[in-house]
Amino acid sequence: MLMANLIPVAKSVGVNKMVPTISIPYPLGDPATPKEEQYKLRYHRVGVALDALTAEISEPTLFKTKI
């Protein structure tokens, strides 16, 4: 299960499960936003990734995030 910002690269090398992150230097929390907001985003995306571990997939899949 990969959490990455460069999804096109992840796809091109054949990653099977992908959850997008928000940037290269800070994948899980934008320092320009308040700490609570960063944590909320991080908590949400890690949750999506954990659920993705349980997903039955047959081809490379990008999992959707809400925050």
């Binding site: 959490m3 099977n16 992150t21 800070y26 994948p27 320092p31 890690v46």
Partner: protein, 352 residues
């Protein structure tokens, strides 16, 4: 003057044909068979001092013994260059040149090992990463040309001349990247736009970063949804998060090392205790809060909620910039083996 040694099989070493393929390795002072032409092509910069001759079957079936004997022959010799072949399309000979060349390279790390094979020779794929394998002809008819290509390249190195890409020099790419300045200089921005325009116009263009053919990994079996709450989940990152001071001295680029760090009893990764040593992005945000790359705080929350049983007490880290696919694959295998052995059920790999 630099010193060189040439490795030949029984046939080119003029011992005999297939009936002599079990010929025990030997070393002869001076030039045998193709060694004469090679020595001539090498000119005044490099001298071929000895010829090693070994039967192809001897090397094939008693490889360790053959390598030990060759090493023994060379222990009191000067070896600036080690040539093998050319092996053309002869599979056994190609593999023998590769095995001999690799052993010599290990024994003499500063020596240059050069061979030549036809692209169909299985030795190419087996050894292209270990030595310079020149793109040679399919049969001995190409002997003179192949020797010339090997010799000219050796001369360039002996004179300290700049070498260019594998393709231009004529050898099979070793999977190594080399940085150099263009003359005249053309900025990357202009080169990439040129490439893009060509691509849009359907014209031929050449990428500066060929992506090796990917080997696809099958989808891992999922963690059963009702078992997630019993699962141990590990975090692995290519984002270079390490304890401040980088105790394992993981390289900031082109990494060949990884580290694992125990976070037992911690609720998040604190600034000043952890940092990123990744040289490929601005580290400010990750140094101010390492959880933006290793989300320990969120994982702890999911532990508390019972969504997962626990986060594995080590997180694993390396640096993913300039890192070769080969090294990355090796590190991945090593880390995966540890995680499997530790009973980890799932992994979140956070990339930067």
């Amino acid at each position: 003057m630099k010193k060189a040694i040439l490795y030949l099989n029984q046939f080119f070493g003029q011992v005999g044909g297939e009936d002599m393929a079990d010929h025990t390795p030997e070393i002869r002072e001076g030039l045998v068979g193709p060694a004469m032409e090679l020595d001539k092509q090498l000119g005044d910069d490099i001298q071929v001092t000895h010829t090693i001759i070994c039967g192809d079957n001897f090397m094939g079936s008693r490889q360790e013994e053959a390598i030990d004997m060759i090493k023994d022959f060379l222990k009191d010799k000067e070896v600036d260059f080690f040539f093998a072949g050319p092996a053309f399309r002869a599979g056994r000979y190609g593999a023998a040149c590769g095995h001999a060349g690799r052993a010599v390279q290990q024994m003499f790390p500063d020596a240059v090992v050069i061979t030549s094979m036809d692209e169909e020779n299985p030795g190419v794929e087996m050894f292209r990463k270990d030595m310079f394998i020149f793109r040679g002809g399919a049969s001995a008819a190409a002997m003179r040309n192949d020797l010339k290509a090997m010799a000219q390249f050796a001369q360039k190195l002996a004179r300290g001349e700049e070498i260019t890409s594998a393709k231009e020099e004529g050898y099979f790419g070793r999977g190594k990247r080399k940085q150099y300045f263009l003359n005249p200089p053309v900025p990357a921005t202009e080169r990439v736009i040129d490439m893009l325009l060509k691509k849009i116009n359907g014209e031929a263009y050449e990428t500066e970063l060929p992506v090796p053919v990917t080997d696809l990994v099958p989808v891992a079996p999922p963690v059963a949804p009702d078992k997630l709450s019993e699962a141990t989940i590990a975090i692995v990152t290519s984002g270079g998060i390490v304890p401040v001071g980088n105790p394992d001295r993981i390289q900031s680029a082109s990494a060949t090392k990884w580290g694992k760090y125990d976070v037992s009893g911690m609720d998040d990764l604190k600034a000043g205790e952890y940092q990123t040593i990744h040289a490929g992005f601005d580290p400010m945000a990750a140094n101010a809060d390492p959880d933006v790359i290793v989300p320990l705080d969120a994982m702890r929350q999911y532990e508390k909620e019972g969504k997962i049983k626990k986060m594995f007490h080590y997180f694993y880290s390396t640096v993913g910039t300039g890192t070769t696919q080969k090294e990355a694959a090796r590190m991945g295998r090593e880390i995966a083996a540890e995680l499997k052995e530790s009973g980890v059920d799932g992994v979140l790999l956070v990339a930067t």
